[in-house]
């Protein structure tokens, strides 16, 4: 991820929500008669940030300071992202007690990612130099995480399609252009090389992605179909 790319933290998200609130929250408890004080726009299912991220209101994002979203990412309802499982900074050297939050990323997601309903992103941890710490979970661009999948990998590359109900074990490394089929269980510490099709419990490489299949991983069209004003699904 180059530093020049605009990323938005969830702190930005909060700021954008605060802007949209123009009335006192207590007014919602009364009857649904529209008051003359102010007219609020209807609450959409998604919050759309400046950088184009679409985060559902019903998604559970814990530890939002440690979650970095690339632009144009879709997070559907019931998704859980554990940003609280962050590496504990060992201040052996004279580092400031509250380091800049950018250094303490738990989960970093690229552009045009799509996290489907009920999926979970969870950084994985291991014993490093005697102490148990969490490794940051890095995801590339155009990553599709299917319904109900749990991703605990150490890193996921770009253009990866993870199916439904998949469990990606701890410290697994998934490279680019990988397709994980539904109901697979990727064992911990597994490395999946690029251009593989993976399935099974435990997952094995069962095929290779053909040269003509690279465009199928692009999620730009899928991004447009979601949101408060969705485009129709292309036929």
């Amino acid at each position: 991820m180059s530093p020049a790319r605009p990323t938005s933290t969830i702190a930005e998200l909060r700021a954008s929500i605060a802007d949209k609130r123009t009335t006192h929250p207590r007014l919602h408890e009364h009857s649904p008669r529209v008051t003359t004080m102010s007219r609020r726009p209807p609450r959409g299912e998604y919050i759309e940030t400046d950088t184009g991220n679409k985060v559902a209101r019903k998604a559970t994002l814990v530890g939002t300071q440690n979650i970095m979203l690339g632009g144009k990412t879709v997070i559907q309802p019931e998704v859980m992202i554990r940003g609280d499982l962050v590496r504990s900074v060992q201040s052996a050297s004279a580092a400031s007690s509250s380091g800049p939050p950018a250094n303490n990323t738990a989960v970093s997601i690229g552009r045009y990612c799509f996290l489907s309903r009920a999926s979970c992103l969870r950084p994985s941890g291991r014993l490093y130099k005697g102490a148990f710490t969490y490794m940051p979970l890095r995801m590339g661009d155009h990553v599709f995480v299917g319904h109900g999948s749990v991703v605990q990998a150490a890193s996921v590359g770009s253009h990866v399609h993870i199916g439904a109900r998949v469990v990606v074990g701890e410290l697994a490394i998934i490279k680019d252009y990988v397709r994980v089929l539904d109901d697979s269980i990727i064992p911990p510490n597994m490395v999946i090389p690029s251009f593989s099709i993976v399935a099974g419990q435990p997952a094995r490489v069962i095929g290779e992605v053909p040269e003509g299949g690279h465009e199928a991983f692009e999620l730009r069209d899928l991004y447009k179909t979601v949101g408060n004003n969705p485009h129709p699904v292309p036929t």
């Binding site: 005697g130 680019d176 064992p187 510490n189 490395v191 090389p193 690029s194 040269e211 003509g212 199928a216």
Partner: protein, 587 residues
């Protein structure tokens, strides 16, 4: 059953009878001599034929050769290997190493023998007691203890076969020196050195030591080496005597002198031959394990006892044993692993990056980058960027089906599907479709394409299109007034680079008793056997012909660019494809 998503398969021309160049076989078949060739052209492509299974591919799998202007499939391209690498450590293996060390990873990458998951190297050392006086931050490397391989999926570890390692890297080399159970094994190099010491007069001490090691359980590797050395000695000994047979030792049994000698044994038994036979030193067979003799141990009572103790779960499944590499450290045949304690970790098979060539013109049509980490391709000519892609979805007009659409197609009820053709090239293409009126097979469904000939616009840039005419609706010929009807001869909808049209299908009835009645050729026997696999699948073979104009290939550099109409040549491409629409319900 789950509803079938409609699919499209394309046929590669490599399997067409015309390209196969078969000689006109008048001997086989119906006996018509010159007929088969003409017959093949007229006969529609049958997707249910067993042969067509091997020639149909989805669009992603097809490549395109620009010089031949033809589709190429994975079956007909010639592949060449660009790089070998291990799929676990992603290290590139030079091809010279491949010949010497085989096609498996020789670093520390192994697969669990029980579940074929990845194995990780872990240290066995327990953590030092915190009560003891030790460095508080534990930064001293705790990884000094013996190492084992553990599987994090099924929790198998190498302690179950009794193997521990001293170092954490180079496990492949360490494993070669160990047997299941922890005893060491001599590698080929070490054995050679021992033999050299023996020949140089090491004396009885070393001899007994080696005999003690090899003893009863002679493993495959050692036995082979001993036997080979023994036979070489025998050949050298037997050839030292005899007349004019000094060359035998070098050339073995194929030399002319030895051949003549052998032939003379068969032709007559004169005294002369008997004498020559006596002079040749007789070869003997191996006598002990040092010379390579291994007595088969046919007593399996030990294995049977073990089976009774440990039960069925301690035995190896067929899949597990087939994934194992040959274990050269154990006795052959009767030592073949049947228990899980005899399994060994499996080194990873190396994976390759391959470049593909057109089989006819030998041009490269797909070439990945040599570096393992790079995912780009230097050359990537895929069919998806040359031929129109076809997507299918059912067309649910409100008048036709008031109820909810069912998973399967109803027999004898007409149903309409919407085909969308998307044009990937930068020229306008003219598409002509042809389908047989009835699908081939036992249960023929009726097919009607409402618009068999149409044009698709070029795949221009989105920006060009938007800037050219702001009113996009002008291009979309949707039914502005009145209901959107599927008319014969008219397309359904048109977009920037795509066209959609309607086909109407009447699925056949799957009733076997009606088969005899509806059979057009009344004289022949009707096959009224039960429904075979996939016979209820509704597949339509379709012949697609694509024509477009392209700039003539300008090979001459010096010629002035001639962009007139004469410079453009018409190109066409034709292929069969199969549209799978769904399953017909059996009611």
């Amino acid at each position: 059953m789950a509803p079938l998503t409609p699919y499209t398969f394309f046929q590669c021309p490599c399997s067409e009878p015309s390209t196969l160049g078969r000689p006109a076989d008048g001997s086989s078949g119906a006996g018509a001599g010159a007929e088969p060739d003409a017959d093949d052209e007229d006969r529609a492509f049958d997707p249910r034929a067993p042969r067509s299974n091997y020639s149909l591919y989805p669009l992603e799998y097809l490549l395109y050769c620009e010089d031949c202007q033809q589709i190429r499939c994975p079956r007909c391209v010639a592949e060449e290997i660009v790089t070998f690498y291990c799929p676990c450590c992603l290290f590139e293996v030079p091809s010279s190493n491949l010949k010497s060390e085989g096609n498996r990873c020789t670093r520390s990458c192994f697969q669990c023998p029980v579940c074929i998951g990845p194995l990780a190297t872990t240290s066995l050392e327990s953590h030092p007691d915190p009560n003891l006086l030790a460095a508080p931050d534990n930064s001293a490397a705790p990884h000094s203890g013996p190492y084992i391989l553990t599987c994090s999926y099924c929790n198998w570890s190498s302690t179950e076969i009794g193997i521990k390692f001293d170092k954490s890297n180079g496990i492949h080399a360490q494993l070669a020196k160990l047997r299941n159970g922890g005893t060491t094994r001599l590698t080929a190099k070490e054995r050679k050195e021992r033999r050299k010491d023996l020949l140089q007069g090491g004396g009885p001490a070393t001899r007994t030591a080696e005999a003690a090691v090899d003893g009863r359980d002679l493993d495959v590797d050692t036995q082979f080496a001993n036997l080979k050395a023994f036979y070489q000695n025998q050949l050298a000994d037997s050839s030292s005597g005899g007349n004019g047979l000094s060359s035998l030792g070098d050339m073995g049994f194929a030399s002319p002198s030895s051949l003549s000698r052998i032939m003379s044994i068969y032709t007559g038994g004169s005294l002369h031959d008997k004498r020559s036979k006596l002079r040749i030193g007789t070869m003997r067979e191996a006598l002990d394990s040092d010379e390579g003799l291994k007595i088969a141990n046919l007593d399996e009572s030990g294995a049977i006892e073990k089976l009774q103790e440990e039960g069925y779960d301690a035995t190896v499944s067929a899949e597990q044993i087939s994934n194992q590499t040959p274990n050269l450290g154990e006795a052959p045949l009767h030592g073949r692993g049947r228990f899980t304690s005899e399994l060994r970790p499996i080194p990873y098979l190396l994976r390759t990056k391959r470049s593909k060539r057109c089989p006819i013109c030998r041009h490269i049509i797909s070439k990945p980058e040599a570096k393992v980490q790079a995912t780009r391709f230097r050359i990537r000519l895929v069919a998806g960027s040359y031929i129109p892609s076809i997507t299918i979805r059912p067309l649910n007009t409100p008048e036709a089906s008031p109820g909810a659409p069912s998973d399967t197609l109803q027999p004898l009820k007409p149903v309409q599907f919407l085909l969308t053709f998307k044009n990937p090239i930068f020229e306008t293409v003219k598409v002509t479709l042809a389908t047989p009126a009835k699908t081939p097979g036992r249960f023929a469904s009726k097919v009607t394409v409402l618009c068999p000939q149409f044009e698709i616009d070029a795949n221009t840039d989105v920006w060009d299109e938007a800037l050219k005419d702001g009113d996009k609706d002008k291009r979309r010929r949707r039914g502005e007034d009145g209901p959107h009807q599927a008319e014969a001869g008219k397309i359904w909808e048109r977009g920037r680079n795509w066209v959609s049209l309607v086909i109407e299908v009447v699925p056949a009835s799957l009733r076997l008793d009606l088969l005899a009645l509806t059979n057009p050729t009344g004289g022949q026997e009707v096959d009224t056997g039960p429904l075979r696999e996939d016979e209820d699948l509704l597949e339509i073979p379709m012949f697609v012909r694509v024509e477009w104009e392209a700039d003539a290939a300008g090979d001459e550099i010096g010629s002035a660019p001639n962009k007139d109409k004469e410079g453009r040549e018409k190109r066409e491409l034709a292929y069969w494809c199969v549209l799978g629409l769904g399953r017909v319900s059996q009611s």
